[in-house]
Symmetry: C2
Subunit: 137 residues, 2 copies
């Protein structure tokens, strides 16, 4: 069950970055929850609350065809029942960032509730990514 | 119910910053969940996973008596059943930051699962803080 949740969380996290990379506003919109209030903190932006403000920000970001592509790496899923967190590194041009994405499961679908991305040191390539559960031992 | 949850989330969020401000490692330790895997992203740090790594980081931070005091403002609670988010501004010396704190309710107690703090523009003082729910309307 938990392994399935981890896999589902990693999958929807990947879908989020795919929508981001392909400037797919429709997919991005569909990925965000319309059940719970959503919130989003882009690097250096004030926090945005509510679907309208958050979608407006994504439209602005995804409309910018000149923007450098974002890639992600080192995702770590933290399943919490009907909710779940995925923390991963992001790379935008030469900048290393770390993001937390929070998801809610509605039926069989996971939808985003919260995204926060902020500057981070380069990921430590010597260390393989491990799930939080394993790190607790 | 939701108003009570909002109040409880704002209260525990304040307790977190009180522990931070008073360098109270014992209170900080008690505030973090020992039920769910925890994770923490300090500004400019790599993400930390698991209680051991997270508490080690707080011990290091709270042991530094010369560190400037952190204050918080503009908290916005987002209750999500047994979970909840509080997003607020932080101020450390001249730096404006924005933090997301995620809590889990265990019995009547709310405990922290996730903290991420990152650089932000100054809060807009013209705008009163409002709950995400209200912003959705």
């Amino acid at each position: 069950m938990t392994n399935a949740d981890e896999a589902a969380l990693l999958f929807v996290n990947e879908a989020f970055y795919l929508a981001f990379q392909t400037h797919d506003m429709r997919a991005m919109d569909a990925l965000w929850s319309d059940h719970h209030p959503v919130q989003c903190i882009h690097p250096g932006w004030p926090p945005l609350f509510g679907r309208e403000a958050v979608m407006e920000s994504w439209l602005r970001i995804l409309s910018n065809r000149a923007a450098p592509t974002v890639t992600f790496s080192h995702p770590v899923a933290n399943p919490l029942g009907e909710f779940g967190l995925v923390t991963c590194y992001e790379r935008v041009a030469d900048n290393s960032l770390v993001a937390t994405n929070m998801f809610h499961r509605s039926g069989r679908e996971w939808r985003i509730i919260h995204h926060q991305s902020s500057p981070a040191p380069e990921p430590d390539e010597r260390e393989a990514p491990r799930a939080p559960r394993q790190r607790l031992q």
